[in-house]
Every structure is written in structure tokens, then in C-alpha cells.
């Protein structure tokens, strides 16, 4: 294995594109190093992106925030303006692993590792976040929900890398939240995760909503029917009941040691409803 730490995106992309063997991008390393050390992945080249200017920065942009691919989850949790705008996204990122893991793990890594149970991904999808991808043919922005292709697989082409996540600005009276079910209180992987982001008008009616589920399908889901259940309503009990039903209907999980199909389908609705309640109270405050 070779290790490179280029100083520009152009150099990083050239290295990734030129590698005939397996090339991996290193951000926080909390997934990659576990995989390389266990022999699950045997890269010929590892390209560390953290020496590239901007990769460790959180920058205000168009009323929202652009988060470099190397920004640790701990750094997100220390950014007051980001937390105020997207509390659900930051909370989701801060649920990943231990304090030690938080010091290194990144949202971009969480996304590119493409685990269906990644905590920050449903929260980013609900937030309408996009990622910037840079590669041999230039750069492009795509929606977060279009990056994962399935467990451990992404839609990135050879030589491409994600260089930042963009969280858009938000209108007044907006709120978001993410909840996951785990059988412990800390240090676990989501059995189900649910994220809701919504905006209210001055009369308290929902004008926009996005709902996303994790760990109930091969990749995180954007549940449009659940958002439709909220839009145009006052987000009352009836609307939340419909949201929960839409989430349970959208869930198509597997049985595994973490939970059964029946349990996950039920909990997807329960968690979405609870996350909606938190997002609603945030939008009203």
C-alpha cells in the first residue's frame, strides 16, 4: 500500500484516476482503517485528503454551510451557527461512535462508506443536502440520496471523490430532528433511524417537509409520501399518524441480529413520528 497526502484536489483526483489497483480516499479513517486492518479491503493506494486546503473548514455559503470532507463530527458539534440552523444533522453526526471516533469521523466518510445504517445520512437527506464531487471530468453536485448505490457501494466513478457537503440555508419557522433506535444508550449501530425536516408558515401550516429513513433498506430512503402527509397540514395528530403509516409502508428491511423485519417496520413509523414532533417544536420556537 502507498500513502499519499496531496495538497490539491487536482493532484488527489489525478492519483485516484491513475491508480490501476484499488484506490481509497482517507478522511477520518474510522471505517477505512478498520476495513484495511481486517483485510476486508486491501488498497494499493490511500489518498489522505486532509492536507488539501478547505477540507477541514466549515464555511458560510448562500445562507447555508459548506462542510469540507475532512471536518470531524466533533468539529460540527462545536459550531454554534451550524447547530442552530441544522440541529438534527449535527445531532445525527454526533451519535456516531465514541468521543474518540467523533474526533476523526466525518459526514462525508459516513456517506461514502455507504452503510445503510449510517446515522448522519438520513439527517442530511431530510435537510436537502448536496455533495460536491470532483473528478477527472470536472466537478458536479448531486443530492445526498443519490450517492449510495447499496450497502458499501456508491455511484462515484473512478477517480472521483466527494470534497464537501452543502447544507442549504433555511426559511424562518423551520426545524429538523434525527432519532435512531439502538438497544443501548451509546456506541451502537442504528436498528432504525428517522429524520424529519419541516418548515411552517406564519399560521403554523407546513409548507415544506422532507423525511428520510435509515437501516430499513439497502440505502437510506427519501420517503416522499411521508412528507406529503405533512405538507398543507398543521402537523396535527392525524398528519403525524399518516406520516408514521407512510414510513412503515416505505420500510423494506432485512431480519438480522439487530432487529426483525416486523420490529423495524413498526419502529420506522414510531421514530419518524417522534422526530417529527421534535422538528415541529424546533420550527415553532
Amino acid at each position: 500500500m502507498r500513502y499519499e497526502s496531496p495538497g490539491t484536489v487536482a493532484d488527489a483526483v489525478a492519483m485516484l484516476a491513475a491508480e490501476a489497483g484499488i484506490a481509497k480516499v482517507l478522511a477520518g479513517g474510522t471505517d477505512l482503517l478498520v476495513q484495511t486492518r481486517s483485510g476486508m479491503v486491501e488498497p494499493d493506494l490511500v489518498v489522505d485528503l486532509k492536507r488539501i486546503p478547505g477540507m477541514l473548514d466549515i464555511q458560510a455559503e448562500d445562507g447555508g454551510f459548506r462542510i469540507g470532507a475532512g471536518v470531524s463530527c466533533a468539529a460540527l458539534g462545536e459550531h454554534d451557527e451550524l447547530k442552530a440552523m441544522w440541529p438534527g444533522v449535527v445531532e445525527a453526526a454526533n451519535l456516531i461512535g465514541s468521543t474518540q471516533v467523533q474526533g476523526r469521523a466525518t459526514m462525508t466518510g459516513n456517506l461514502c462508506n455507504a452503510s445503510p445504517a449510517a446515522d448522519s445520512v438520513p439527517a442530511m437527506i431530510a435537510a436537502g443536502a448536496t455533495v460536491r464531487i470532483e473528478g477527472p471530468n470536472g466537478d458536479r453536485d448531486i443530492a445526498v440520496e443519490d450517492l449510495a448505490a447499496g450497502p458499501g457501494k456508491t455511484t462515484l466513478e473512478k477517480g472521483e471523490m466527494v470534497t464537501s457537503v452543502f447544507l442549504p440555508g433555511r426559511p424562518a419557522n423551520s426545524g429538523d430532528a434525527y432519532l435512531r433506535f439502538i438497544p443501548r444508550t451509546e456506541m451502537d449501530i442504528a436498528v432504525v433511524g428517522a429524520a424529519v425536516s419541516l418548515t411552517l408558515d406564519d399560521a403554523g401550516a407546513c409548507t415544506a417537509a422532507r423525511v428520510s429513513l435509515g437501516a430499513v433498506a439497502p440505502r437510506a430512503l427519501l420517503v416522499e409520501d411521508a412528507a406529503k402527509a405533512l405538507i398543507g397540514t398543521k402537523v396535527d395528530d392525524d398528519a403525524m399518524e399518516k406520516l408514521a403509516a407512510a414510513c412503515s409502508a416505505a420500510a423494506s428491511p432485512i431480519d438480522d441480529k439487530r432487529g426483525t423485519v416486523a420490529f423495524r417496520v413498526d419502529v420506522a413509523g414510531v421514530l419518524a413520528r417522534r422526530a417529527c414532533g421534535i422538528a415541529l417544536s424546533r420550527a415553532r420556537s
Binding site: M1, R2, Y3, S5, L26, G29, T30, L33, V34, T36, R37, S38, V46, D48, K50, S72, A74, G97, S98, T99, Q100, V101, G103, R104, E186, M187
Partner: protein
């Protein structure tokens, strides 16, 4: 395999070493630099026995490549005591019998110091969550948490007296 030359700062000392591209910081500390205080428990970032502070952030040194620390600063358990004088956390771990076999202890101490450097007056809940990534199979954690709370109190009193 060609080695990579890395220049870094460890516990305040300038250090230069040659490492393999796939070598972890933990292996370099232990096998090349003789700093064997950091332990390998799991090697997957779950147990925290290899905890070090990298540029001010608590991390698992088993999940850092040695080549990554070029130009950075690393703090390990070996830098915690001042000569023969133990850090208050170390003293309190002994007083409270917060260790048995000792494998997890360096990681707990480094992690606890990183908490108290940021938050001198943590609640018990904050201590328990901060240390959730440090596993101990001997003590049941209560003595560790009490030792950290007691050390925090002593450090606050010493600071107020100063």
C-alpha cells in the same frame, strides 16, 4: 517496502521516525518509539485503550496512520505525569482503586484528561458519555467515574486557590 520519513511532536519533543505506509500510529508509538503506555485492545476503535490526543482531539491511535501525523502534535499517556509527580487523575485512580488489570487505564486517563481540559466541572452523566468509548472489563466503571469526578474537584480547587 519503502519507508516514509515523518517529523512530528510527541509530548512536546520533536520526533522523527520512518514508518510503513500502512503502519498505525499505535504501532509506531509502541514498536518504534518505545512508548508502550498506549495499548492495543481491539484494533478497531471500540475499546479506547490506545487513546491519544492528536492536535487537541482525542482519537484512537489504532485508527490513525503514522504517516498522517507529519507536522502534527501528539500527546500520549507518557506525557501526563511531570517527572516523578503524578497527574491528579493518576493519583485519584490509585486512591479510588479505579484499575485492576491496568490495560484500559492509560486510555481512560488520556480520555479523562481530554474531558477535564475542556470541561473542568462535568456532571457524572457527561463523564460517562465522554468515556463510553473506553472499555474496562474489570472495574464496572463506578470507581473510574468517581476517580474522574474527584480529580476534577481537586483540579478546580487547586485552580481556585492559585
Amino acid at each position: 517496502m519503502s519507508g516514509k520519513t515523518v517529523t512530528t511532536t510527541i509530548n512536546g519533543d520533536a520526533v522523527e521516525f520512518v514508518c510503513g505506509a500502512d503502519e498505525t500510529l499505535l504501532d509506531t508509538l509502541r514498536d518504534r518509539l518505545g512508548l508502550t503506555g498506549s495499548k492495543e485492545g481491539c484494533g478497531t476503535g471500540d475499546c479506547g485503550a490506545c487513546s491519544v490526543v492528536l492536535d487537541g482531539r482525542l482519537v484512537c491511535s489504532c485508527l490513525v496512520l503514522a504517516a498522517e501525523v507529519e507536522g502534527r502534535t501528539v500527546e500520549t499517556i507518557e506525557g501526563m505525569a511531570s517527572g516523578e509527580e503524578l497527574h491528579p487523575l493518576q493519583t485519584k485512580f490509585i486512591e479510588h482503586a479505579a484499575l485492576q488489570c491496568g490495560i484500559c487505564t492509560p486510555g481512560f486517563l488520556v480520555a479523562a484528561k481530554s474531558l477535564l481540559d475542556r470541561n473542568p466541572d462535568p456532571t457524572e452523566t457527561e463523564v460517562r458519555y465522554w468515556l463510553a468509548g473506553n472499555l474496562c472489563r474489570c472495574t464496572g466503571y463506578d470507581k473510574i467515574v468517581r476517580a474522574v469526578m474527584d480529580a476534577a474537584r481537586e483540579l478546580r480547587e487547586a485552580k481556585n486557590a492559585a
